[in-house]
């Protein structure tokens, strides 16, 4: 039987190695799965993990996928650290996409050309407001009625999804779109400015990186940021110190909602250029994994969103190149998170094998 002993101070070595160990374990499992499916594991892993990093196109696509992941995960990082379990980033993302996309659609239909740089801040604002509003419902119900933010935020994902479906099948459907569930293509000026000619990577990524630094400064260099982090692990200490739990709840939910909303707006007005039911690909859920793999640290989230972006793209490539379903990516993400959680135990605990009391 296994026995765990609590370390008095967390092991720095284990802290640094644990994500690496988790990644290695995941790669090993991935290799095994490829082998079990009758594919060459080396080729499989190459397609899955290496090819997404290949060339300008690969790298810019990586940044493109990492953009929504980073933005959503940043908000979740702050939420989880303060013990607010917002798992509905997906819903806030969708509302952001609806807000940003709706704005682009309105400007398009009105023929109101304000130019790329004129529209970009409006887009940012619309996404942030829509996402924050959706998260505000969670905050309100939690604050006023003590309703579990886990369940409410998740239920609102389904609601947001159905709302989007209704929009693109109904009032916002492109009248000339052959009855496809999608809006008219947005006018060119609404597009998020691109960074590399010919590639889809857009201004959203540098914005996300900048926000990551801002979140880091906020969390680790300001009193407000510290206050949020006390409430999570030690609510009684927060009460003792006089830090308001309600303020923390509202702040982290509105903040994470806004960040997820911005991600949605970027995606709708960026690579999509229109609203469809498929504006998300589950970024809001993957971001949960990103946040944990990034050790609930804003700069960690930047790195882990790149890693998870590799997984997402790798899944697509595995489908087109070696005929494996893209759902494989979801399995690898799950394995990564499991093994990371298990490895994290080693940071705060010493494992003793054998011995007496394993009950």
């Amino acid at each position: 039987m296994i026995r765990l002993e609590v370390r008095s101070t967390p092991s720095r070595l284990a802290s640094a190695l644990s994500p690496l160990a988790a990644l290695l374990f995941t790669v090993a499992v991935a290799g095994l799965i490829f082998w079990a499916l009758g594919k060459d594991p080396v080729r499989g892993l190459k397609v899955f993990l290496w090819e997404p990093l290949h060339g300008t196109r690969g790298l810019t696509e990586l940044g493109l996928k990492a953009t929504p992941l980073t933005l959503c995960a940043l908000g979740l990082t702050v939420c989880f650290r303060s013990n607010v379990w917002n798992i509905g980033a997906e819903g806030q993302y969708l509302m952001g996409a609806i807000g940003g996309g709706g704005l682009a659609l309105w400007f398009t239909n009105a023929g109101l050309d304000v130019g790329r740089w004129g529209f970009f801040p409006l887009l940012l604002l619309a996404g942030a407001l829509a996402g924050a509003a959706w998260a505000a419902v969670v905050a309100l119900l939690r604050d006023r009625f003590n309703a579990s933010e886990i369940l409410v935020s998740l239920m609102l994902v389904y609601v947001a999804n159905l709302f989007l479906t209704w929009l693109v099948f109904g009032p916002w459907k492109d009248p000339k779109g052959f009855n496809f569930p999608q809006t008219t293509s947005f006018a060119a000026f609404t597009e998020v400015p691109r960074l590399v000619p010919g590639m889809r990577l857009h201004l959203g990524y540098p914005v996300a990186l900048l926000l990551a630094v801002a979140v880091w400064v906020f969390m680790f260099r300001t009193h407000r940021g510290l206050q949020l982090q006390v409430g999570g692990p030690a609510p009684l200490a927060a009460r003792y110190a006089g830090f308001s739990a309600r303020a923390a709840l509202w702040m982290v939910l509105l903040g994470s909602g806004a960040l997820a909303g911005v991600a949605g707006a970027f995606e709708a007005a960026g690579p999509m250029g229109q609203l469809t039911p498929h504006v998300s690909m589950g970024y809001g859920f993957t971001a949960i994994i990103v946040a944990f793999v990034g050790r609930l640290h804003p700069l960690g989230a930047v790195l882990s969103s790149l890693l998870l972006a590799v997984f997402v793209i790798g899944g697509e490539l595995a489908q087109s190149r070696i005929g494996l379903p893209a759902a494989l990516s979801g399995i690898f993400q799950g394995v990564l998170l499991f093994s990371l959680l298990a490895c994290d135990t080693l940071i705060n605990h010493r494992v003793r094998w054998g011995g007496s009391r394993g009950r």
Binding site: T222, H223, Q229, L236, A237, R239, A241
Partner: protein, 506 residues
Amino acid sequence: MTAPRLELSHVTKRFGDVVACDDVALSVQPGEIHAVLGENGAGKSTLMKVIYGALRPDAGEMRWNGEPVALQSPHQARELGIAMVFQHFSLFDTLTVAENVWLGQAPGRPLQAVREGIRRTGETYGLELDPERPVHVLSVGERQRVEIVRALLGEPRLLILDEPTSVLTPQAVERLFTTLRKLAATGCSILYISHKLDEIRALCHRCTVLRAGRVTGTCDPTRETNASLSRLMIGREPPRLTQRAPRPGEVALRVHDLHLPRPDRFGTSLAGIDLTVRTGEVVGIAGVSGNGQQELLAALSGEDPRADAGAVQLLGAPIGRKGASARRKLGLHFVPEERLGRGAVPTLTLAANLLLTRHEALRRLGFIDRRALRSQAEGIIGRFRVATSGPAAVARSLSGGNLQKYIVGREIDAVPRVLIVAQPTWGVDVGASAQIRAELLALADAGCAVLVVSEDLDELFEISDRMYVIARGRLSPSIDTHQATVEQIGEWMSGLWPAPAAEVIP
């Protein structure tokens, strides 16, 4: 000569690098009340868990009525006839008394038989209990009765009690002793764990003293003095505090007719609390835990700002509705009872923990000046002799005594006008206790008003100039410590104090 009921030899138990019990020997005769004496952290509780089968020793032998045994679990210990009453009760709040007792019995005994057993044992030993009441409505003393009845129903031949009197009034302690003497007379052996010298001398036949995991002596406590026992326990006589002459000044903290409905079903309502603390004096509040201490402290510290504004006054200003940080800004500081998780965040560094109550290192917009913070922490660590690797150590890496020194130091260092301290030395070793008490007295001498809420009567008699007693959410009148006796305070702790007279201090 019959074999001892229990005999331990060379018992050693390690936790990681810490040796909790080192080559311990212990022998208990049938019908003997045997004390295990030692200060906090001496290894008493670990040793008892070994005897009860909850921990397995790394080395050593245990004999039961002369036969060697190797216990695998508490179940097995209970089958042999070993029962234990825990210090932090192992009771289930939402279950009834009968269900709680039932869970401590061997399987196969029907609940109805347990109910009858509770009644019968209650009559025999004077431990009356209603089997159908849920535990969460019981007083602390009643809860202990549940524990004892649960232990006795198994008809034990050895009963272990871990610090059983820390939650009782002096009168209830007497009742407990009567029960234990009756029980010993039936031939049951009793292991009595305590660090209270008077009790051991009054109750026990023999005494084994532990210090830092090792046995430092075995003696007949009735023939020892407190001083000689103390030498065995801590290696020297207990440090004495110098007598001080209090010079009370103006009223710093005044509570007038404070009423507060209980915050939840498990809490206590406060009724008509009147309290004054002057600058330069140390005032104590005694009482058995769960009589409204938490609620009163929350109302004073500002964690519970529901009181009428005027019901709590700081230097004449009404603060009843202000929150904790607002009161702190006005000079009212508070050291809570729980160190880890309330007084300090376990996972944050000592430096970061300063920011819970201290804002000197904050700059514009709430930015943290990390250098200033670090040197502030270093200052407190140095001034209060906190043993730690430095300001970057996380709070949970410190021992209880050192963390308490740091937390008390953090608040004293803020130069408060009023300092409220809950259980200043609970679970703290003797050296650190003496230092913390001396710091509190020095603070009062420097003109601060100090209010100490404690369940440790000895401590209150040692440091306070005046005392109140809290019972069932009401506060007694105050009494000068040098006029008070333990018996009187004990009576007051059951809520029996003279009808509201004029305040002793005008």
